[in-house]
Each structure stands twice: as C-alpha cells, then as structure tokens.
Amino acid sequence: MIHSIERLRTGDTRQQEAYKTILQLNILNDLQHYHPVLCGTYPLAIFVEYSDLDIILQAFHLDRLESDIRRFYSGFSDFSIKRKRIRDQEVIKANFQFHTFMFELFGQKQAVDQQNAYLRMVIEDHILKQNPTFKREVIRLKQEGMNTEACFCKLLRLEGDPFEQLLLYGKQTGIIG
C-alpha cells in the first residue's frame, strides 16, 4: 500500500502545504468509514501548480456518502456533486475548493486498493522508481497540457487509450496482480 499522506508530510513545500490542508479539512477522519486514500499526482510529486487533490473512497451506500459529502463540504466554493454510472457501477464524484487546493472525491463500491485510480498510482510510482528521469519529463509534459497517463504512455511508447494502456502495462510487467 502506498502511504500517500505520509509522502506529502515528508515531501516538498507544496506537498507539505497539501498535507496541512488535508489535515485541516479533517477529511480523513470525517470520511474514515469510506477508507479515503489520496491518489493522483501529489503523492508521486508529479503535480503541476493547479493539480487536484484526488481522494478515492469505498462506499456501499452511496446515499449515505452523498449525504456526508454534502454535510461536510457543500459550503466550500465551487462545490459540485454528481451521481453517475461508470463501467456499470454507480459512483459519486464531488469537487470543491479548500484553501489553494481543488479537491476531487470519488466513491464507489470497489475497495480503494482495487480502484483504477489507485492501481495506476502504484504503476506510476513503480515506473518513476525505475526511471527517475521520467519525473521531470512528466511534469514538463503536464505543464504543456497532457494528462498524467498520456505522459507516461508517451515516455514508455505505449499506444492506445493511455488509461487502459497503463493498467495493461502494470499487469503485463507484474507491477499489479
């Protein structure tokens, strides 16, 4: 398991700022029943200035999660929440701003360590450890507007849908089971 919050605590200035913001928001306690895990670019230190803080959640009762999210965060600026279906699963997505960070919360039935966002973070972390020079390149490509997965696929010369290709790469190389 990647201890993503711990990585922020010991990371660079912006990561530490993100860490303090998450603690101040108290989201890890308020939503603890949903096993919140920070994913995305901050734990891997490949964020750009305005990257979101992505927090994934496991929720068997989406009504309850929606009600909790509204209760805690609907007062924040740019708050929005949506229920929808992704790959035949009912999910919840919520966004809001707190301090200088945009948060994106995503909840579904699946365990957080089985969710695609988490699996891709594990794969990207592994790739970065094997190829330390990729970090600077990923950030550069992201600053030019490319999404994280597309950056990795470009550097690894993987073609096709970057979100699927990166997962496939992780499976084929044994990074994920």
Binding site: V48, S51, K84, I86, K93, Q115, E144, M146
Partner: protein, 201 residues
C-alpha cells in the same frame, strides 16, 4: 490562482492580459480596447492572481444549433473566441485549467462540442491537439499592405483608395496567394466533443 466568472470590474486587466498574451502569436496586432460582448449567452472565465487577470477564456454558446459555431452539427456547441494566458504565467497549466472548467460548465449546459479557430502558431495548434481538439477545416487569412499588394483591391466609392486590408482566401491556390502577399496565415478550425472524462476512475 482562482478561476472566476468575468465581471466588468476586470475589464482593464482582461484587455491587458489578452494583448500581452497575443504579442508573441500570429494575432499580435489583434488588439481590443473594449472587452467583447456577445449576442448569445457566454461562458466568460478569468484566472486571477493577486487581483490581476493572468488568464482568460470566452466561449459564446448556442441555444440553436449552428447559430454561432460552424461545426455543422445538429447539436448546440460553444465557440471559444478568446483564450489567453499572461506571458509571466504561461506553461503552468492555466489554459488547461480554464478549458477544464469551461468543459464542466458546457456539460452542465448540455453543449455537445467546443469549436475554436486559430492561426498558424505551431505551439498553439499543438496545444489544441494535445487537449483533444480535432482539426475540421482551414483557410487563409491574407493581409494586404503596400502599393503592390493593395493594387489587387478596388473601391466602388469615388476617391476612396484602399491602403490596407485583410481578407479570407478559401480557394485552392495557396502557392499563388503566398507568393503575392507577404503576410499570410493559415487559420484552422478545431472541434472537441464535450464529454465527461471518467477514464481516470
């Protein structure tokens, strides 16, 4: 940095940001002295830092298909008329943030696609391609200046002599146009379907 809806309080800062952002582009002389207003509803967003505009995007959108866009689509779209980032803040993902926000609002408004037209700055064309825009059509913007070039123009009004002009060329003979005129830009139209990207999850 915060992304907000434009209000007229920011007009001066909006104009300054736009003119500085365009200095290094093929639109360097496309200077506005007043912020553009639209006949149709518009999504007008600004990126603000220290109470100063560092990025902007304007999208005029349709209530009736094909009333603003040329996407030849039966669905309503939005035309990006202005997208600019202050030179001091470029390459930090601000344009991407503005576009992302516009796409969220466009989805809520039920727009099917975004359209944009831009001249031939390679980094601008690449930015649109990288951000999921597909080229649909292009033609030439031709600037006429100097005696030799404006010779091609005639005025129907007595004693009115054209000195400068700019024109659209939609014909096939690009070589002829480029050899006859010094300043020629290819203007390319792009569209991007507005769909919610849930691939991350």
């Amino acid at each position: 940095m915060k992304i907000k809806t434009y209000t007229s309080v920011y007009e001066k800062s909006w104009l300054e940001c736009r003119v500085l952002a365009f200095l290094d582009t093929a639109y360097y002389d496309n200077v506005f002295r007043k912020k553009e207003q639209y006949d149709n509803p518009a999504i007008e967003l600004v990126a603000i830092k220290d109470d100063r505009i560092i990025g902007l995007i304007d999208v005029e959108y349709e209530s009736e298909p094909n009333s603003v866009c040329t996407g030849n689509n039966n669905k309503c779209g939005g035309m990006i008329w202005h997208l600019a980032v202050h030179p001091d803040y470029q390459r930090q993902g601000i344009a991407w943030q503005l576009l992302k926000k516009v796409e969220t609002i466009a989805l809520e408004k039920g727009l099917a696609y975004l359209e944009v037209w831009t001249r031939d700055d390679p980094w601008v064309l690449n930015w649109y391609k990288r951000n999921g825009f597909t080229p649909i059509h292009s033609y030439l913007h031709v600037f006429l200046g100097g005696n030799q070039e404006v010779m091609n123009l005639a005025s129907k009004l007595p004693d009115l002599q054209p000195v400068q002009a700019w024109a659209h060329y939609t014909g096939e003979n690009e070589e002829m146009i480029r050899s006859a005129f010094q300043r020629v830009h290819r203007c390319t139209g792009f569209i991007k379907k507005v769909i919610e990207n849930d691939s991350f999850y």
